[in-house]
Structures are given as structure tokens and as C-alpha cells.
Amino acid sequence: MINTQALADANLELLHQFFSAATHDASAAMCRWTDGLISLSLDEVREIPMEEVSAELGFGDDLLTMVVLSAQGEVGGEMILAFDEYNGRRLAASLIGRPVDESAPWSELEKSALTETGNILGCAYMNALTRLIDAELVPTAPWFLQDYGASVLEQALLAQASQCDRVLVCRTGFHRHGEELNWRVVFVPTMALRRAMENALRRGA
């Protein structure tokens, strides 16, 4: 008899190796972009029932500032970089060298700073995945938006939702000088990308 749970755990362990490599590259890019200030770590790779994903990942009904990138196509995925108002404002201010001003609407410069952050992070991540599998991931232009976190996460989950009830997500932590920041990045691969990663890891094993 096949132990399906053990098989699933083994696959998740393989995928963890994959996402660790991508996170390493994204962290290096983020360090360069922020003059060594910010680094990333892969906190977990796991499957979550679809109806629980928002709550588990902290994408509830609060307003979040987000940058979204897609790798379109069957072998693709969605990446969401999310901040609350406090953290998003502070990152933007540090990148453009201006004091934090939470009273004013977001300026185009602030939006651009966060969008570029998402672009650098997402491209490094997807470049690493491209290198590791035999398929090219081409990210779309990053998209800045402010909305309820769960409503955006919902869109990112669609590609997997059409095929299964449990969603594979990887959660990444951000750190400034070792201190954890309340930023979130979530990457949701399509089922085809997930299979491509598993196949690539088995070939390399």
C-alpha cells in the first residue's frame, strides 16, 4: 500500500529545497536593492485547504498595500508582496530618502519605489525557478494596488483552485538586521509549475 501522506510530505520536502534556492536568490537581490538592510528567509512550504488560506497567511479583510506579479501560462504562478500601511510607507520612505508622511495620499514616487521592489524580488525569484526547471518563467510587469488582502489573494489562487481543494503556498519572512518585519510575500505556483519542479528535483536526485 502506498503511504500517500508520506508521499505528500516527501514532495513538499523536495519543493522546499526548490523554493529555498529561489528565496536565496531573491534575498541576495533584495540585499543589493536595500544596501544590505533587508534579507529574506523561507518560512514554510505547505498545502492549505483553500477556504483557510486567507486566514493562515494573514490576508484577512484589512486593507493592504500590495505589488503583484504573474508568470503567465500553464507553467506559471502569482506572487504577492504585501505590507500594511505602516511598513509599506516606511519602506518607500527609506528607498526614496524622504521622511515618512502617512497623512498624504501615496505619491507616484512612493508607489514606484514599492513597485520596483516587487519587480526586483519577483524577477530574482522567477529567474531562479527558471534556472532550476526546464521551462522559462517570464514575469509580467508588476502591479501596485491597495485593496483587501483576501480579495487579491483569491485571484492568485484561481489557477490552483480549478484543479484541487488544497493550495500549495510558500511563505517568506523578511528581516532587517535580524529583526522580523511585518511584510509578506506569497508565491502560488500553478499545478503545472509544481509538477515541473517535482520532476526537475527527481531528475537531479
Binding site: 477556504e51 504573474s70 485593496d147 480579495s151 480549478s162
Partner: protein, 163 residues
């Protein structure tokens, strides 16, 4: 995936992706919707409300997770309400959501497909849509008051509205 227990609590009850919740007043059912469609059914006489958080328009025959698809979720909601003594002719239906969150054009517009499917399937069941707030490019935070059937909708940057 679907939830069939009749809930009777004053606390807002979250309806996650692919879930169906049925509750009696004074309960309030809540969801955050992007491209998903929320189908709210309310029986005024019995003060029973149901909210379905529908993800995709068509199950393509998949038997599992009826709450996820419009073609299976709406019949499941009606079945659940009928078990509580609610006939479809006594229901008020409202739909909300179905946004195109990333404002992309192209053939795969799930939000629009979800809206079309929900309206069509309700119509096939003889239920007209009494009110709707659908489409656009923004998410919605919605709450169904199971005492009054009022649906409160919040969109970022807009004043709250009631259907």
C-alpha cells in the same frame, strides 16, 4: 468544503472561498470577494440567510466541493434551505463580487464568468436577482444580515453601500 449547519450567533461568521454558510437572524455572514461571486439568499419570513462564496463558474462534473462552483453551489444552497422549510419562491437573491482584480483584459475573465453563471443558474431555478453590485477592479468586503437580508458592501475608497 460546504458548511450545512444552521448557525445562530451574533458574531460575524466568515465564509471562506468555496464555502456555503446558512444562518438564522441575528447572525451576520461575511466574506471578502475579489473575482469570486457572493450569492446571498434570504428568506424574509423565517429570517434565514445563506451566503455562498463561489470561486469558479463550472464544476465540469467534479463531484467534490460543491461550494466552489456556481453550478453546484447554488443547487446546494437551495437544497440546504429547502431542508429548513424555505421554498425557492420565498427567497430574495442578491449577488456581489466578480471583479477583475488585476485589470487585465483577455479571454479568461473569471469574475465576469462567475457573474453570468450565478445569474443564469438562479434564473433556471426560478429566482430573479433582486439586487447586484458586481464587476469593477476592486475587492469587496460584504456582510449579510440574516435578520433583515440587508447586504452591506465596502469597497476601498468608496462609501459603504447597502443592497
Amino acid at each position: 468544503m460546504s458548511q450545512s449547519t444552521l448557525l445562530e450567533t451574533a458574531q460575524p461568521i466568515a465564509v471562506g472561498m468555496g464555502q456555503i454558510r446558512v444562518a438564522h437572524g441575528p447572525a451576520v455572514l461575511g466574506a471578502v470577494l475579489g473575482s469570486c461571486v457572493g450569492v446571498a439568499l434570504f428568506a424574509p419570513r423565517l429570517r434565514i440567510g445563506a451566503l455562498g462564496h463561489i470561486v469558479l463558474p463550472d464544476s465540469k462534473g467534479q463531484p467534490a466541493s460543491p461550494g466552489k462552483f456556481a453550478d453546484t453551489a447554488i443547487p446546494a444552497m437551495l437544497h440546504e434551505l429547502q431542508a429548513l422549510g424555505v421554498h425557492p419562491s420565498g427567497l430574495v437573491a442578491k449577488i456581489v463580487g466578480g471583479a477583475c482584480m488585476f485589470a487585465m483584459s483577455g479571454p479568461l475573465q473569471i469574475g465576469a464568468a462567475n457573474i453570468e453563471a450565478a445569474v443564469r443558474i438562479l434564473g433556471n431555478a426560478g429566482i430573479a436577482v433582486a439586487a447586484r453590485d458586481v464587476g469593477g477592479t476592486k475587492g469587496r468586503r460584504v456582510r449579510l444580515d440574516c435578520t433583515t437580508g440587508m447586504l452591506e458592501i465596502e469597497i476601498v475608497g468608496c462609501p459603504p453601500q447597502q443592497l
